[in-house]
Subunit: 338 residues, 4 copies
């Protein structure tokens, strides 16, 4: 049984999903793509041989030919499209974050629940080979009871300032992946404390954001975690995770384009790691889409739920409040206040 | 401009090329597949959405709709299909080795030359990211003048005995890739000395073959090389190359499914390397096919020529003679005697 | 010119210094060792061929034959011996921490200043080859302006509970080395926030201490740091430091007894890291003692001063207050309150 | 019980043993050093606090105060001093090679046998932590039945031409360590084939030697081996060994002065390996001397015997004959012809 899908949003991430759905996902039929910029939709339709395109997302959402929609448009449109798609009885894949506002997220999740459709959130990193291996190590007891988690997550370069201004800030836009990773690997977090600054580019600070952050977390199971984010890394994308426990540790290293060492009179050197998320995490995008299509085809639960999309936003809000109030913040405080 | 292709041979390697040509090679149109076992052809046509299939390779070769044929049938049919395809004016991609007999190879190459078509040989490993990096290091002078080459090339497990019996032996079937790598990286070899034995499985010896070999080579430029082959490696596919020169060294390591280290009370350990050639070298199959199609579309020379297919066979013959006569053998001797 | 020394304290660390001073430190003459347990002093004198031993530290301190004393006795005796040695005009090497009380430390430092003798504190890790390399990378600008520091520092197993009870706690006893490393690499810290728990052994908690801690620090220069400590690591001593900056990163890995990888059908594995501080840091003990003796012989300043001994205690106190009051604590608060 | 020793030869390697015997070998008393250059003997005596020195090796050999002599003089004096020391009833440690001539070696070994003294040969690399780990892996069955051995052994820079002229050539002087390693790890070799050239410096060729060599060996147990030697390596001392077998592989990597990786915008790089044998193998010199002294003190057999000193010379002669006659040479041929 095959699943017919349409994509809303023909930007960078929309094209990633289009490339996966057309060439790498068994059982998927990508029938349409929508973008309010008609040229973008047309270009994507041509490049990926998608039969139909439109400048009207609503038209796509209400197409009788589709089983599911993949929402890749800007964050501020997510809740609206989720609600419309749910109302149209479509299953939904939505990029992260659902929204920057908890109440809006709750409205979207309620619409999904009411409609009885499935909603998968785009936390693709869960399906990276390294993170899957860490998860398996934990679940198989290879490291005993987890005591600490250390996440290093550094981007090669900051996004444009215009993007930063609407991004919701580093914690909502970038660290949200790491918040998800915390939950994926060790379960729920109870308390967050953050220190951060603008060390890379003063213009980011002028735009009200930070570019370097260290966050300390306490998990409900007693484990302690740290996350480090930087918006700029001269050697490229730095993505490493270590879980340490009573029975050992599981640590991931970066991924490289080759495994060659050059030994010269000056040093032993190797190539820089895969440059950014498209290179490093492409296979995880393919996998998340395979699992989404497979879940729909087999009527199983999707692997990343609406709740999985909601909690990291809560964590980002707690982190931002910690920064603002210079104290540790419990998730329960933020949840209660929302 | 697009290139229309047909594949002859719907076995394992034929399916690899089919998967690449249908999903990963821009400008390629895979229109037909032929296999004398009609069921295999039909299954491949279905699995890869190939419009046409046939049990008659001749029918495919002579189809007016095709620009090129990809020969993935058993080695003993290569020369015949090359000659027929050349006569039909088709460009040709042929798996290695062209043949185990130099005179037969020469007949095939003559037919190709007469017809003025292009012939690319399937030495895919040249297009592996690690080998490309080694090649670039040499060409860019990163290691100075090359003095030595060391190739470790070990398969996870021997092929079935029935295959070994018709394979032409380890040097013709397995080490031929390493002979090609020698030429690709350091140029022509002048002399070969081999020691080998049957250490893995006596049945391989009973079938007249060896399963473990160490070969010493002298290059025309004065460099010295060694190749090690084993048919059985309990930890999987072991593929490493090191070039050492006056200015340094370039060494490749194996490729792994993940970059995770598990530290326990007993050891620090990581996963086994990618298991075999389909996992380790899949991207190189895609790349060689891209370059083939691109060369045809742009009317450029293909990157691996008929001569590149011929010389490694000569090297295998020299290696086998060395084993037999227990002395170093010059390639010129074998070339002259052929 | 040679320097005559006596050691106070013939326990584990006293013997480490004895072994270094007798065999590895040019210009050092180890003439005497004192321990209130006469048997320990006698055994050390015999094992390291030290001419003299005594059960009376005061006798050693006031010996006219000695230029310097090396204080390796229990922490609660440090200040007393420092003051006596200073009064006797002896140069002093003292193990860390000087004391757990800032006022007591200040009295000791005042005595040293009044006497005009030199005092070196035993922060040996500064002289480890890896840490020296990190320091050099920072000073040479190899990583640009430092933005973050990450220290992982895990012991193989907790000390005996009796020791823990008098140790001053994990931050004073164990993390103090990491506080020193922070200052050594990136300069002064302004603010500390800590989360910690007793995850390894409830008996440690019952003794009023913690066994697992994550600490977040802000440096005066704006950089952010984290330290992780665990009292128990099944794979041995885990000592890694990473400095990340505007121009790159410098990261140290653990040190191993050998560089051998064993590849089997199950995994690729290597030996556990060097087990504990005596194995991992032995050379750094030799180096600190060489530099101490060299400074005295050449009348230069010692490389780790009394102030270097004082500030990490201040940091430990700030860390403990942070734990207690569940908020970030500025060093200035603790310094003012002392 | 302690052992009294004297050293003959106060050059580089004599001083290495002096430093080990005076500071690192329990039970050793280094009482005298002899060198025909009296200044060298005097300097060593001063630097290592050796009570006695002399310009007359015979005087040292016949000293009633000594239990053993350590022969570190030039190779052409080894046999004479061995015979004199044996006649004087002294146990003997002799640097490799015993001699370049098999008949002379046999005379030395006969003298040792007649006198009933012990003779240990200075194949120190056996006691390197990496090689010990490889040996243990083989003996413990961690890699099953060994099938192949690969030794990469490259010096940072050639010795002076004057030394090369009397060295006996690369195989006698440098590869002899690797021949010993072959025997140590996999047992006796039956046949050798060599290819070599002068690729580093034509002056070495003019002096009648080679500077780059690849050697193929067959072991009596059926395994196959290769050794690569180069006299010049711009990145320093390259010493790696891999044993591959039916149950896996054990591979050693180089040893580095630190474990720090520097990541910059250009590359990830680390420091060069330990530069040469004194840095890389110092601990193995200490260990071999400990085992020598321990064997004498406990009246046990020494770990590297006269026969262990003889066979690698035989292998070097076989290798040189192979080079000369351009064919594989059996050790039995050389042994018979000697």
């Amino acid at each position: 049984m095959s699943i017919s899908l349409g994509i809303i949003g023909a930007g960078r991430i929309g094209r990633v999903h289009a490339s996966a759905l057309t060439a790498r996902v068994p059982g998927a039929k990508l029938l349409a793509i929508a973008d309010v910029f008609a040229d973008s939709a047309r270009a994507a339709a041509r490049d990926f041989s998608i039969p139909d395109y439109t400048a009207d997302p609503g038209e796509l959402i209400n197409s009788g030919a589709l089983d599911a929609v993949v929402i890749c448009s800007s964050t501020d449109t997510h809740v609206r499209f989720i609600r419309e798609a749910a109302a149209a009885g479509k299953h939904i894949f939505c990029e992260k974050p659902i929204d920057q506002d908890l109440a809006a997220i709750d409205r979207a999740l309620a619409a999904v629940a009411d409609a009885g459709v499935q909603l998968q959130i785009g936390f693709n990193r869960r399906f990276d080979a390294n993170h899957l291996r860490l998860k398996r190590a934990i679940e198989a007891g290879e490291i005993g009871v987890p005591h600490t988690l250390t996440i290093i997550s550094r981007d090669p370069a900051p996004p444009p300032l215009d993007y930063i201004k609407v991004s919701g800030g580093l914690m909502m836009d970038m660290m949200i992946h790491d918040f998800d990773m915390c939950r994926y690997l060790l379960g729920e977090v109870s308390e967050i404390f953050a220190m951060a600054d603008c060390l890379v580019d003063p213009a980011i600070g002028a735009a009200g954001d930070i570019d370097t952050a260290k966050v300390l977390l306490r998990f409900e199971n007693g484990a302690l975690g740290t996350i480090e984010n930087s918006r700029q890394t001269v050697y490229g994308y730095d993505q490493r995770v270590e879980v340490f426990g009573s029975g050992g540790a599981a640590s991931s290293a970066n991924v490289y384009p080759d495994q060659v060492t050059i030994s010269s009179a000056e040093s032993l050197r190797r190539s820089l790691p895969l440059h950014f998320f498209l290179e490093r995490y492409y296979e995880s995008y393919v996998t998340e889409m395979r699992l989404f299509v497979e879940a729909l085809a087999q009527d199983k639960a999707v692997p990343v739920t609406g709740e999985d999309g909601r909690v990291p936003v809560l964590m980002a809000l707690a982190g931002m409040r910690s920064l603002c109030e210079r104290r540790p913040v419990k998730l329960a405080e933020v949840a209660a206040g929302a």
